[in-house]
């Protein structure tokens, strides 16, 4: 089992694979707190720079407000704050990824603020490992799986679960999680 996973590592080329069959999906990756995350490219509507928002009264702190996206009112959510990671000042590379999500059978358009956009990968479904089990109390349903791209681990997010769920792990849990995921592959598999 361990071997198999290790063998598969180098198969990923940086960039988009040409053979786009049904078994593989493309992911847009972005950076946040030095970690690389991926969201399915089909759920991404557009990528925008940061612009000031209209604040929603009494909204949770991770909801930065709403913007006018060509006539549609779109809420903007800071993913760092959502995860409880230390907040950065928004800079030149700060981007808003506008995603289409299905929450409770309704389609919504939501913007997420991330540190920077990284790349687009084609990931073979067979190469997606399940997120390890961290025991009860840690809901990881928003993590679709883990994969490797250019020797770096990418956490593939299930955007519907991420934005639809009320409870997300706290900063501490999340950093624990990321540390564990970052640890050598063998450890993860054995955990």
């Amino acid at each position: 089992m361990t071997e198999q996973i290790q063998n598969e590592q180098p198969q990923h080329d940086h960039g988009i694979k040409q053979d786009n069959d049904e078994d593989s999906q493309q992911y847009l990756t972005f950076i946040m707190a030095n970690e690389e995350y991926g969201v399915e490219i089909l759920s991404v509507q557009e990528i925008r720079g940061w612009e000031s928002t209209t604040v929603i009264p009494n909204a949770p702190s991770h909801v930065k407000g709403v913007i006018n996206l060509r006539g549609t009112i779109v809420p903007i959510i800071d993913l760092r704050q959502r995860f409880g990671i230390e907040v950065l000042d928004y800079g030149a590379t700060t981007v808003v990824i506008v995603v289409k999500v299905a929450i409770a059978n309704e389609h919504k358009v939501i913007g997420i603020v991330v540190d920077a956009v990284s790349d687009v990968f084609s990931v073979n479904n067979d190469d997606v490992r399940e997120a390890p089990n961290f025991g009860e109390g840690t809901d990881l349903s928003f993590i679709k799986g883990l994969t490797n791209a250019s020797d770096k681990m990418v956490i593939l997010l299930d955007i519907n679960m991420l934005l639809g769920s009320e409870v997300l792990p706290e900063a501490e849990q999340l950093s624990n999680l990321i540390n564990t995921l970052d640890a050598p592959q063998q450890q993860v598999v054995n955990a």
Binding site: P57, V66, I67, N105
Partner: protein
């Protein structure tokens, strides 16, 4: 070639529902003793086209049922049967039933209502009763058979089918008919004796065959005949039947009699069911769904596409306007291409921009016009409602509808119907007296309820007027004192007492009846109307009657707004709810012990909401004396809102925050300002309830 019919089914549903509406209104207007031929024809045509359409689309349940209606109506139309009030009742119940059937079809769930079987039985009984005098022997025998079959269930039918020689040439295929029969029960098809010509004389397009069919089914003869409906002129078809279970035959006769005895009871039962459905009002669909399987209900979540029928005039106008807009755009484009802009072209540029502004405004208005429907769409349900409830309560009512052509936005219309139903029901139940009481008071025995709609400024006014007893102020006051809403010693003006009925949890009904006192009170009515940015007023005179006046904006899409600044944030306050804005002298500000502040405005004390506090913003004006107080109306009470600055007034297009986000307390929606930024629209009533100052006035008094 296979044609996907489902793409047309939406249109069919709409047409059928319209047909049902027409049937209903004709039935209600019908003078049973002397029915108008044209009315009967209209009802018949509606039933006929629903039957035809539903058969085409394969909605056999509807087709089978409307066939019964059609048969009955056909006999009435031909004068073979005298219209009775029972017919009127059963036809009205059928209209409701069909509406529910269509509702189920649209949600793609199974329709399963015991009422269907009951009404079907009633119809069969009614049809069996025979027509006046000139019955054909066939009808007689078929009715006998149907009765027999009802008692025993399955019958063995022998059908002698002698197809005409031209049947294939006319495009009829016996195979398809047999297939249809096969769906009704167990079918065996045998080739009967036939004469075929010499081989050389055979015409390949002719049909020389006859069949002997045997079908075991529980379907009535009518249904079997329907299969052969298209070919009955050219073919000879004989039906004969034998009960499948012979030993029960003796019992059957007695069964028939007992069935007849129970039918009337069932009719009463079905009426009770009906009344139940009616009284549940909005819950109607839910109730009828409860019978169906839970799986089917989850399927019902498929998105409902709602559509609108627009008169072609409105579309033509729109097309004209777009044409003019294109011309203006071309003109402006030409100016834009000029290398140098001199004074002359500057003038035409200005002209062009002015034109553009006019066209945009016109276009906006015409697009809004498309959503406008005459209020008769909402009024139409009331004759039926009033008839049914009037009957139930034993009250004589005359319903008058005025201003039915007044146009109203479709979404507003959809939302105003429920509050109106509630008000009309209240008028019938509490307002109007019984005929005896009315006579004793020297009024006419028949009460009048008037629904009136008209435009006033940018609003639509809907009035619900009755000439009943009016509100009993003493009783309301006693009730309010009982509930602690009003202090024991406190004296209130008549107007103030009338306002009490809008308080949550207030009901004057002594006992909970089907119609009222189930907790869905006037407070909900008022809340629903407030949610539409409207208001409701009440005038009532004892023994003369009551008048409810609902004032609504014409559309929910556009709003006249006052832009205000709170700190760095810009909000829109609906202009309709603003009375005035003022700076308050420090001497006119009173602080209550619980921290709330009141301002004295002429002879009134008004509570003040600090908007920045409720919304957790920072602001320039932290104290009332430093800012502006906007006096707004919330639930017919004046409240002050503390803001920093008044900006411009403008029309804003309302956008939903809920589409992509959630409902936000104190905010009713969002809009996009001229510079492309988003501003939130303040929901005054919501803000007041957030601030929790509903009872402040009582404290102050």
């Amino acid at each position: 070639m296979e044609i996907d019919l489902s793409q047309f089914s939406q249109v069919f549903f709409e047409e059928s529902l319209e047909g049902l509406d027409a049937m209903e209104s004709e039935l209600l207007n019908l003078d049973v003793n002397n029915p108008d031929d044209e009315a009967i024809n209209t009802i018949f045509r509606a039933a006929h086209s629903i039957k035809g359409g539903s058969a085409t689309f394969g909605f056999s349940q509807v087709a089978n049922y409307t066939h019964l209606l059609e048969t009955l109506l056909d006999e009435i139309r031909d004068g073979r049967r005298q219209m009775t009030s029972e017919h009127q009742d059963i036809l009205l119940l059928s209209v409701d039933l069909l509406r529910n059937m269509f509702d189920a079809l649209m949600r793609k769930i199974d329709f399963d209502d015991p009422l269907l079987a009951q009404l079907e039985k009633q119809f069969t009984m009614e049809l069996e009763k025979g027509t006046q005098g000139s019955e054909t022997a066939e009808v007689d025998s078929s009715s006998e058979i149907t009765t027999e079959q009802e008692a025993s269930g399955l019958l063995l039918w022998s059908i002698d089918f002698q197809a005409g020689i031209d049947i294939l040439r006319c495009g009829n295929d016996p195979y398809l008919m047999f297939n249809e029969l096969r769906q009704l029960g167990e079918l065996s098809v045998n080739l009967a004796e036939h004469t075929s010509p010499e081989f050389n004389d055979i015409d390949p397009e002719a049909c020389y065959l006859n069949w002997q069919l045997e079908l075991i089914t529980d379907q009535p003869l009518e249904r079997l005949k329907e299969v052969f409906e298209w070919v009955e002129d050219e073919c000879t078809i004989n039906f004969s039947s034998n009960p499948l279970i012979n030993e029960n035959q003796d019992d059957e006769l007695s069964n028939i009699e007992s069935t007849q005895g129970t039918i009337t009871q069932e009719l009463q039962g079905s009426e009770a069911v009906q009344a139940d459905i009616e009284s549940n009002g909005a819950d109607e669909t839910k109730t009828s769904n409860q019978g169906s399987k839970p799986k089917a209900v989850s399927q019902a979540k498929t998105p409902e596409t709602s559509s609108i029928r627009v008169s072609i005039d409105k579309i033509d106008l729109l097309i004209n306007m777009v044409g003019e807009l294109v011309i203006t755009q071309a003109m402006l484009g030409q100016i834009g291409q000029q290398e140098k802009i001199d004074e002359e072209s500057l003038i035409s540029l200005k002209q062009g921009l002015e034109q553009l502004a006019t066209h945009t405004r016109d276009l906006q208005e015409s697009v809004m016009q498309i959503r406008m429907l005459p209020i008769s769409f909402a009024f139409n349900r009331f004759p039926r409602l009033v008839r049914d409830i009037g009957q139930q309560l034993g009250k004589k009512v005359n319903l008058v509808l005025k201003g039915e052509d007044t146009e109203l936005d479709k979404t507003v219309m959809e939302k105003i119907v429920d509050p109106m139903v509630h008000l009309v029901r209240n008028s019938l139940d509490h307002g109007l007296e019984t005929p005896e009481e009315r006579l004793a008071k020297g009024k006419s025995e028949v009460g009048t309820i008037t629904l009136n709609a008209f435009h006033q400024g940018g609003s639509i006014i809907i009035e619900i007027i009755d000439d009943g007893a009016g509100l009993d102020t003493d009783r309301i006051l006693n009730k309010a004192r009982e509930k602690g809403l009003v202090g024991l010693e406190e004296e209130l003006s008549t107007e103030a007492i009338h306002k009490l009925i809008f308080k949550p949890g207030f009901s004057t009904a002594d006992s909970v009846s089907d119609l009222s006192g189930r907790g869905v009170g006037m407070d909900v009515v008022r809340r629903n109307i407030n949610e539409l940015n409207g208001s409701i007023e009440l005038k009532s005179t004892q023994d003369k009657g009551s008048r409810f006046t609902i004032r609504l904006p014409l559309t929910l899409a556009i709003l006249d707004g006052q832009l205000v600044r709170v700190g760095q944030h810009i909000y829109v306050v609906p202009l309709v709810s603003i009375h005035e804005s003022l700076q308050v002298e420090p001497s006119k500000i009173n602080r209550l012990s619980d921290g709330h502040e009141l301002i004295q405005l002429r002879n009134e004390y008004l509570p003040v909401i600090k908007v920045y506090q409720e919304f957790c913003h920072t602001s320039d004006a932290r104290e009332i004396k430093d800012g502006l107080v906007m006096v707004v109306d919330s639930n017919n009470e004046k409240i002050g809102l503390l803001v920093d600055e008044l900006l411009s007034q403008q029309q804003v297009v309302i956008k939903s925050l809920e589409d992509n986000y959630n409902r936000v307390p104190g905010v009713s929606g969002a809009t996009i300002l001229g510079d492309g930024t988003v501003a939130l629209i303040i929901d005054v009533t919501g803000l007041v309830s957030m601030a929790g100052i509903t009872n402040m006035k009582e404290h102050a008094a």
